[in-house]
Amino acid sequence: MAKKLPEINSSSTADIAFLLLSFFLMTSNMEQNSGLQRRLPPMPDENQKVQNQKINRRNIIVVKINSADRLMAGNEPIDVSMLKFKIKEFLINANNDPKLPEKENKTIEGYGDYMVSKGVISLQNDRGTSYQAYIAVQNEIVKAIDELRDDFSKANYGKPYLSLDEDHQKIVREAIPQNISEAEPKDVSKN
């Protein structure tokens, strides 16, 4: 009297799996977490004297954005699209112009001596500046520095910065530092 058990119909497992699949498809958010990474300067101590003034004037380019999202770079109004070239020119200083930042001979481990620019980009914004404009400016500055790094790494290693290995990237980062100072909040509307 051994009765054969009927086989379980497995054709519906696909449906069940599809159901689950569509659930996870809908709830998953493949959110890209990308953005511009920055390091904020530490808060100065109350009783510590401000030492920032010591930086030589020629080493600083001031980029100001006012509340109407207008841009000033180094005392002249400029368009966002031109900012990249301005920054590059400022940081390269090919002809050793006395108005542009000085260079310091630095020994980089694994590379040798290189004239590292001492230029600092100081970014100032108004409280009324729109975030979009601010990010656009940040982006242009990063783009300028990224392109300089690419040039450097292509000249020395024959490939773009991002495809270098970690050690070489470090050398390039040292040769072309990203010195962006996000200044203390200031009202630039009067300028």
Binding site: T13, N33, Q37
Partner: protein
């Protein structure tokens, strides 16, 4: 010769669907592993600004998020449409950031605490005033690693 020519009427064998469930299960597992259920409800509308140079955040688990933007449509009657800060699940002010950072730090392991990144997810239309306040507060809490969340432009 006859051996090969013999088959006169050939029927196309039916497609076997037995392996379909395997394929679907494979997909299912992929999505189950990669998915992370949304923990917090978005109370502010955030349309990230575009930035072509944005880089990926390496350690997603070490990020703390600060959302800034106007409240979502159905909350605007209650809260107005001024830009607000959302921490975790509720509207907060700049003063609450200190506690928020402290709790976020606590939740990370000891070794990873210094690598914690605060991602500022702000709407592209907010004014810099509120962002500056947040930045100043973050400096005061010495959470100095920050990231301005941005998306890559869709087409160059």
């Amino acid at each position: 010769m006859a051996k090969f020519g013999r088959s006169g009427k050939k029927e196309v064998p039916g497609l076997t669907t037995a392996s379909m469930s395997d394929i679907v299960f494979m997909l299912l597992f992929f999505f189950m592993v990669t998915t992370q259920l949304r923990e917090t409800e978005n109370k502010v509308m955030v349309k990230l600004p575009e930035a072509s140079q944005s880089a990926k955040l390496e350690r997603k688990d070490l990020a703390a998020y600060i959302n800034v933007g106007p409240p979502v449509q159905h909350l605007q009657a209650q809260y107005g449409n001024d830009a607000r800060i959302q921490l975790n699940d509720s509207f907060r002010t700049v003063d609450d950031i200190r506690d928020f950072i402290a709790t976020e730090r606590e939740s990370k392991s000891e070794a990873d605490r210094q690598f914690m990144t605060v991602a500022i997810r702000a709407d592209e239309n907010v004014r810099m005033g509120i962002i500056t306040d947040i930045k100043q507060e973050l400096r005061r809490c010495s959470a100095l690693k920050i990231m301005y969340s941005a998306r890559k432009p869709s087409a160059d």
